[in-house]
Each structure stands twice: as C-alpha cells, then as structure tokens.
C-alpha cells in the first residue's frame, strides 16, 4: 500500500488527507507536500490521519518538520486521528504534547489557539 495525499482548502486552512503507509520510503512525498503548501502561503494545516494504516518515526519526523515550518510563519499544524494504534505512536514519543490532535476534521477546522 503506497501513500495517498489529497488536499483541499477551507478558508485560510488546508486539509491534507493522508492514506496508506507513511514510512521511510513514502515520507519524502508527504514532506514535499507540506513544503509545497507552506511555500504557497498555506500556514494553517490540518493533517487528516484517519486513512493511515502505518506510521513510523520518519513520518513523525516529517510532521514535526511541517510544524516547524508553519510556526516560522505563525501558522498551525493540527492532526485528526482516532486510531488507537496510531495515537499510541504519538504517546510513546511524547508528541501528543506537541500536536493538537482532534477527533474530526470539522473539530480541527473550528479549533482556535
């Protein structure tokens, strides 16, 4: 299973829906997508992880890299995830303290702060 990426703009926010496996092989594709969005002036990103079947540390690194980029522009990067096996990975690495994680895209779209 490869990585799938679709993006849509909602006002000043952009939703990136990710599907499939994010690993050392596919993560560069996600990195490129996040970099392209920031270069295009999209600084408020919502990464929808509900379709993700596998996530490794390289994927986590790309998300942290994305967060650094949007923060440089006073932006935000929110995650949408309810899958326990993916949430566990964020908990083990302490990244639940770094990313706001929402249950739904609509919740992430209306979140402030």
């Amino acid at each position: 299973m490869d990585l799938s990426l679709t993006t849509r703009d909602e006002g000043d926010r952009t939703v990136v829906a990710v599907g499939g496996e994010i690993d050392v092989y596919t993560a560069p594709k996600l990195r490129e997508q996040l970099v392209d969005l920031v270069n295009a002036g999209r600084y408020h990103l919502i990464v929808d992880m509900e379709g993700v079947e596998f996530l490794d540390s390289t994927g986590l690194g790309v998300l942290v890299g994305g967060l650094k980029r949007v923060r440089a522009h006073e932006g935000s990067l929110r995650l949408v995830c309810t899958q326990e096996r993916i949430l566990k990975i964020f908990r083990i690495t302490g990244l639940t303290k770094v990313f706001p994680i929402h249950d739904t895209v609509s919740e992430a779209l209306t979140a402030v702060g």
């Binding site: 596998f54 490794d56 890299g65 083990i92 690495t93 990244l95």
Partner: protein, 141 residues
C-alpha cells in the same frame, strides 16, 4: 533453531518488505495477533535506522535481518555494518525535537519508538557494526 535470514540493499523501499517478512514469520512462530503491529513497527524502525546508517556512511553493503524462532520466543536481529564511532543519539524529549537536526530527529524518534514498544530490546554496538535485537514471547506451535 529455525531461522529466516534476509539481506537487502540499504534502500528505503526494501524496509516495507522486511516488515512484512518479519510479521509473517512472527505469526508463524506463535507471536500473538495483538503484538504483530508492534513487531511490524519495531522491525521497520530497526531496518530504517540501519538503512540510514549505511546511506550516511556511503556503504553499499546490504543490511541483514535474522529472524529466530525459539521455544517460547521470537527474536529479531537487525545488523548494520557501520563501525561504531559516533555515539548513538540519546532519546530526546518532545521539546528538544523541535530544535533537532532532521537526521538526528528521525534516529532518536526511531530508537524512542523501539524502546517504548518492545520490552526486551538491546542495542549492541560493535567494531563491525551495530545489532538491534528485539525479542517477543511466542506460544509453541
């Protein structure tokens, strides 16, 4: 001792193959279904780390994965051939990650994940390279 050995070129594309092989052999060795996600993720991390070490060192040698089925346990060893010289980066806190170099960040996160997931794990640095050994309980077949 029944074993499966896999040697693969240090390319990111092969890490997925290694994960699938490890998960398949783990299941056949009697590792519980509830642990297979953990096996898949930890083995992937160990292989990604080894691939990264080879790539950064400009080595063409393959990475080796050995899967050992023993009574009551299933053991995975992932070996790189990069001589130890640079100390392994410590497990960083989430706050440190935001300041880290991306390469260091990936490796630190990878080892943090392995340590957090696997109860029985050893990182054994040697003059011929580093072995990451992980062991899970397995019921007899």
């Amino acid at each position: 001792m029944p074993t499966v050995h896999l040697r693969f070129s240090a390319l990111p594309a092969h890490v997925r193959t290694a994960r699938l092989v490890a998960a398949t052999v783990a299941r056949r060795s009697g590792v519980g279904d509830d642990l297979l996600d953990e096996v898949r993720l930890a083995v992937g991390e160990a292989c990604s780390r080894a691939v990264g070490q080879h790539t950064r060192s400009g080595l063409n040698e393959p990475v080796t994965m050995r899967l050992l089925t023993e009574p009551g346990r299933f053991c995975v060893e992932v070996a790189d051939v990069v001589p130890i010289g640079v100390p392994l980066p410590g497990i960083t806190s989430a706050a440190d990650l935001l300041d880290a170099d991306p390469d260091d960040m990936d490796e630190s996160l990878g080892l943090a994940l392995i340590s957090g997931l696997v109860d029985d794990v050893a990182v054994i640095p040697g003059i011929d390279g580093t072995v990451v050994r992980m062991t899970w309980a397995a019921t007899a077949l």
